[in-house]
């Protein structure tokens, strides 16, 4: 038994040593020189120093692929098609790629090392995504655990986005957090307000970026935002809409409603159901009430699920409140933003009232 264990240990040690030698050799001797990244068949080309991963190389050229983990290979969101020069598919990528994606050259850009010229294909919209070095104009306490932040863009810069989309907020190192990281937050301001970006951030206990926002960011600080991303936006169907949100899910709905006002869309009825537990969880009520007063097409329905005090709002879970406000919903469309649980529950209610599922749009907080 002992010789077998010894042999295994010796082999493992040798493999480890060889790997280490290769890594050291690569670090000191590998020089990939200048490499060209061709994006979308010549639509853009970048000259980069070889050796870094594709995600980082693209970001250095201000082409930002969405990434939830900052390039650690654990989120599987930084996908793009690598048509040439990407090398073989790695075992670290396969868990995140479907068979179809693997067949069509989709790769995780954080796992692809740029060693030579590379040809890639990314969705066209990503080419317009920018990083903004902003200054925090204001931070407002919306509720006990939600803050509203307004970021002023640099002089002369503007952002183009669709109401409902999100940006990534980059945090800086603090306390035990040695590296900056980023999280996605929906934009709560209107696209017409394009020299600034407003976000609504709810405190997540132990959340790395929300702790940064709540305990370290202050008015006048600089902050980086990258965006805008996302497929959650108002469809131009002309149908009556129902918006349902909870917590910080109010943000994209606010952007959509403000955008409807700016674009003069008054021929579509819109009702916004905002679910909260108690009165202390409500915010922007005065603003939505004012919009309701001025725009007859808009109705705001806050609902409290557990508040026995005397209040003017509807009572019950938001799903129950929506259900009792409508009969047949087959001609409506819905925009939902909240937790996966809330979205699933709302989808059941809406589908049960005849709304086709392909007309239920949601941002599932993920």
């Amino acid at each position: 038994m002992t010789p077998i264990i010894t042999a295994v240990l010796v082999l493992s040690a040798l493999s480890g040593l060889l790997t280490l030698l290769l890594l050291v050799a690569e670090f000191f001797f590998a020089n990939y020189g200048e490499c060209i990244i061709d994006v979308n068949n010549g639509e853009k080309t970048f000259k980069v120093e070889g050796g870094a991963n594709l995600l980082t190389s693209l970001a250095s050229q201000k082409l930002f692929l969405p990434s939830g983990c900052g390039g650690r290979g654990s989120c599987g969101t930084c996908k793009c098609r690598v048509l040439d020069g990407g090398g073989p598919l790695l075992p670290t990528e396969t868990p995140y790629l479907t068979d179809e994606e693997q067949k069509t050259a989709v790769r995780l850009s954080c796992q692809v090392k740029v060693r030579n010229n590379v040809k890639i294909e990314v969705p066209k919209e990503l080419l317009s995504i920018k990083e903004f070095e902003t200054v925090i104009e204001s931070i407002t306490d919306c509720t006990h655990d939600i803050k509203g932040l307004r970021f002023r863009l640099p002089e002369g810069e503007t952002i183009k986005f669709k109401a409902g989309q999100f940006v990534n907020l980059l945090s800086k190192p603090y306390d035990d957090v040695k590296e900056g990281t980023s999280r996605a937050y929906s934009i709560s301001s209107a696209p017409s307000d394009n020299k600034a970006i407003e976000l609504v951030v709810r405190y997540v206990p132990n959340g790395m970026v929300t702790t940064y926002v709540f305990k370290h960011l202050k008015q006048g600080d600089k902050a980086s935002l990258i965006g805008a991303f996302g497929e959650f936006f108002l469809r131009d169907s002309g149908r009556e809409i129902v918006c349902i949100a909870g917590g910080s899910g109010l943000a994209p709905i606010r952007s959509i409603i403000l955008d409807m006002i700016d674009r003069g869309i008054s021929n579509r009825k819109a009702t916004f159901f905002f679910g909260a537990v108690s009165q202390r969880d409500l915010y922007y009520v005065e603003e939505f009430k004012a919009i309701e007063k001025e725009h007859p097409w808009f109705r705001f329905v806050p609902a409290l699920s557990k508040d026995d005090s005397d209040h003017p709002y509807q009572k019950g879970l938001i799903t129950d409140v929506v259900a009792r406000n409508y009969g047949d919903m087959k001609d409506l469309e819905a925009y939902l933003c909240g937790s996966p649980g809330m979205i699933d529950a709302c989808c059941k209610v809406l589908a049960g009232k005849g709304m086709p599922v392909d007309r239920i749009y949601f941002d599932k907080f993920s």
Partner: protein, 146 residues
Amino acid sequence: MQPGVLTLKGFLGNDDRKLADIIVTDHQTLLRMRLNAAQIAARLQDLADRGADLMEQEVLVDNRYRIKVRDDRGKIPSPWGDGLFEKGDVDLADQKTGKTLKWNRLTLRLMQEHGFFGGYGSEYRIDPEVVVDILDLVPVFEDPAV
């Protein structure tokens, strides 16, 4: 696993043992109590499900457990690199024992797939010795010594 890498406080709490030792010790405890991780994870998931979809209202389950399920945006990556798990903590207070538990989807994954119950002092530690009393778990396999 360390604070500030994947999560603000990490997964080890103030435990200075090696990861392997943490896992092995909890595994031995489970064996001694004739329980398994899947059984604990399934029970916790069941309790979480019964507190879910209530828009963060606290609910009394089985006339014993006060449960509140938070809905938070985003996902947490597993330190084992095997996926992303939706955030949202479940807080449980057991009225019978006075003890509390906190977990989320990642906690259950780490417990079930990797035998990791959290380091001592971690808010998310599901201590097998503690959880057995809270959940009234019964042994799932015979005592090999009998």
